[in-house]
Symmetry: C2
Subunit: 493 residues, 2 copies
């Protein structure tokens, strides 16, 4: 029954691939693994299936390797997971418009409520062009690559899993060519309330919703995002939605919208925490350590609320001078999206506030904030183990995995300060000190509370945090999605 059963293939489409290629010092092309647990997690789901991953070529070497591979597919062995990797190669101009004009900032800003609406965005010819000839063009390339892979053996019901806000319009393009495909889409960032989408011109808005609604299942992190999505379908698209069952009716199909809070690979993280690279970084940290350690680890993104975090810390030092010279705020910041003007500006604002707090409160013998702009994952994990307080005060954040990663491996009963506007807050509120990310006084109070919390309470919270993370490991995230896929595939025919 080739038409009714799922076939054995799984196609993942995500902007970022499991590896990227660059030229080593000896001129040879080498594959470099990306950071973050998502890739490993996604590889974990292949579970006996024949897996193909379709990703954007990010480097000239990616494109070169793709061109040289037989059938355009590169064989990859990723910790024993075998998969085929296909690159979508867009022109640099096309990719720039897709990535630096539409996906970030336009969609990213909408979904995190980051636009300064009285002034921006100003959608003009450049943005409309970037939509058609950037975002839509790259989505079309992805759809063609998926279609090509499906078409190479047109039998059964292939499973395609799409990822994130880069690929909203791709599912409709795949659906058009392959009505039989089972399409699943996970969105890793918040799904905002419907008014946020009113920033987009009507045709774009309809393309986003119409595109993603071509999926069979749409996965989001939390029940709140699911509700926001359903509200948007009702209000912006005039579609019939069922809040109880989490479904949208579109052109005779039922689309299921489900919450799957993403998590981390706990086993992997446990091993990583004891790895040589991390232990070496940890020794450096211990040697340099001076008193208590407040930590934050973030991409330098406007959603992360880095500036207000430092301002709140300055306020804390002002209110509690007894902590001077006894605490250091270590900020490990990865550079991010520096081609986008708002990010360059944000980086300048971060430098300015660090300078101000350090000059107001520090001296020759003590720097209140130590800002390291780097991309060094072992150093981050070492710091995860060593923090006394972890600051996660995001303006809005889809999930925030730093809270889970760091909470899992921390060895000092460190206290998590967690923004109420993160997806993680739904799971972790009980084991954290919650803060309103706009309220500096609240964040300053939270720092004081975290630094003066009795040992037994710290132990209790830190233990609860670890338990919560372990009880919703990445494997559960995967299992729940596959259970729903299986039941949907079964139920649909």
């Amino acid at each position: 029954m080739p038409d009714t059963a799922a076939d054995n293939r799984l196609i993942i489409a995500a902007n970022r691939g499991p590896v990227s290629h660059k030229r080593g010092e000896d001129g040879e092309i080498v594959a470099v693994r990306g950071g973050g647990g998502l890739v490993t997690a996604l590889l974990g789901i292949s579970a006996g299936r024949e897996l193909t991953w379709i990703a954007s070529a990010m480097t000239p070497e990616d494109a070169e390797v793709a061109a040289a591979a037989p059938g355009g597919e590169i064989d990859i062995d990723h910790d024993g997971h075998r998969l085929g990797l296909r690159y979508v190669v867009a022109e640099p101009d096309t990719y720039h418009r897709f990535y630096n004009v539409i996906a970030n900032p336009l969609l990213w800003f909408i979904q995190h409520y980051l636009w300064n609406l009285p002034a921006a965005p100003e959608l003009g010819a450049a943005e409309l062009d970037a939509w058609e000839n950037g975002y839509q063009a790259v989505n079309r390339l992805f759809a063609e690559a998926v279609s090509d892979k499906i078409g190479s053996r047109p039998s059964g019901r292939p499973l395609v899993m799409l990822h994130d806000y880069h690929l909203y319009t791709c599912p409709a393009m795949i659906r058009e060519r392959h009505p039989e495909a089972f399409l699943h889409h996970f969105v890793h960032i918040p799904w905002p309330q419907s008014d946020a989408w009113r920033v987009l011109p009507g045709p774009m808005r309809e393309a986003v919703f119409g595109g993603i609604l071509a999926n069979d299942i749409i996965g989001l992190h939390t029940g709140k995002y699911v509700r926001n999505f359903l509200d948007g379908c009702r209000e912006l698209m005039g579609l019939e939605v069922d809040y109880g069952s989490g479904t949208v009716s579109v052109e005779g199909r039922e689309v299921r919208v489900r919450a799957y809070p993403v998590s981390i690979d706990c086993g992997d993280f446990d091993r990583l925490a004891e790895s040589k690279a991390v232990l070496a970084e940890e020794r450096k940290l211990e040697e340099a350590r001076r008193g208590r350690l407040i930590l934050r680890v973030d991409r330098m993104d406007l959603s992360k609320n880095i500036v207000r975090g430092f301002e709140a810390y300055g306020l804390f030092l002002e209110r509690h001078p007894e902590f001077r010279e006894k605490v250091t705020f270590l900020a490990l910041m990865q550079p991010s999206r520096e081609d986008i003007p708002q990010y360059a500006e944000y980086r300048r604002r971060i430098s300015a506030v660090v300078e101000r707090v350090n000059s107001e409160h520090g001296g020759s013998s003590w720097q209140p904030i130590e800002l390291r702009i780097q991309d060094n994952f072992p150093a981050s994990v070492a710091a995860y183990k060593q923090y006394d307080v972890l600051m996660v005060n995001a303006v809005f954040d889809g999930m925030n995995l730093v809270a889970k990663e760091a909470g899992l491996v921390n060895s000092r009963d460190g206290v998590l300060i967690l923004s109420e506007n993160t997806g993680a807050h739904k799971e972790l509120a009980g084991s954290a000190v919650s803060v309103n990310p706009f309220d500096l006084e609240d964040q300053a109070r939270a720092l004081h509370r975290a630094l003066t919390m009795p040992e037994d309470e710290k132990k209790r919270l830190a233990g609860m945090l670890k338990d919560t993370v372990r009880s919703n490991d990445i494997n559960r995230w995967i299992d729940r999605q596959f259970a729903d896929i299986k039941s949907s595939m079964g139920g649909a025919r």
Copy 2:
């Protein structure tokens, strides 16, 4: 039955009163009527009741008159409506914190989605103090004034009608003292989706919702705002809401939430349009007229989208040079809230874009934009009559009465360009050219379409606009609210 029937009294509580006092040139104190049809409308609702209006003293003379009046109540005759006026006199510092720190910008910005969240607001000690010793303090003064008036004759069931975002916490304070009072609250600005309220610290958010939920009826402009309000009660307050009947259950009470789209007094406007003052202004306008007239009339508020409007006009002139010297964009702008830094900055941005468009497209013989910063209502009404195109492109706007006022009295079959994010869009979309306020290309296209529209289509749209405004006159707004008040009062006991 003094306890069960409504008594004959109506108390209106609104920050702005029907008149304000100042010292004339001869040193005498004179009462000056405020602009806008709302005051007249609210006076219209007294309908045989004994009316007391409680308002903030805005000038030293207001306070002086209040101090001199017997029992603190000033007798006013407002076009044959007799009423008592009581002023709430706050210390200037208190009022500043209430008005310039909390009501505007904090609440106003939240409700119109105007915050630039990556950077602002930064809620610190000043804002928390302004909340307690500004907003709450003034609300308490209002509650005391209302209570004083009710208490002067404690029988029956007095009707209190509160207005707008200045007085959210007042109803709970009145309810505490007068459980028997019937409290009605109309909010004249948008009610945003729940995430916008997450800017407020939890206790403030709960005071806002808890405060306004002490009313028996809450009135908003549109069904969308009603839904947003109910969503907020459910999500932020954990209350039980019934979307079908539009009710919230709070502490055993049922609060009704209803849409009453505000409108204008058509008869009043018809007369005004033929008044001497307006006719004189109209002659001046006709003499100076040069080709077609695009008009906007707005307070200089960040929500009005003045800068993007001019940029879109610049784009239109670039795309359609054939309109040079044949069209003028007349902008009548009332200064607004100049004590708030964001407003001063916005005014600078407006001047800059006007200068840029005029120098890029204009010359010695023609200024593409004529910007008049003034507060001259007859001149506005004269311009209402004379426009060929009216630009209402607000970012978000609760209703936008300019669209209704101007549409009613326009004599040239002028075309209304209307932002889809105004409350008025719900009623007027069919008789306007809709625009996305963030999309400059869309607004430039709309200007071209409006200026090249065939006469019969213009006539049809302008006629439909007038009919729509007349069919939902301010009297209907009043009648519908009083019908609901009557049915609620009857049903509640």
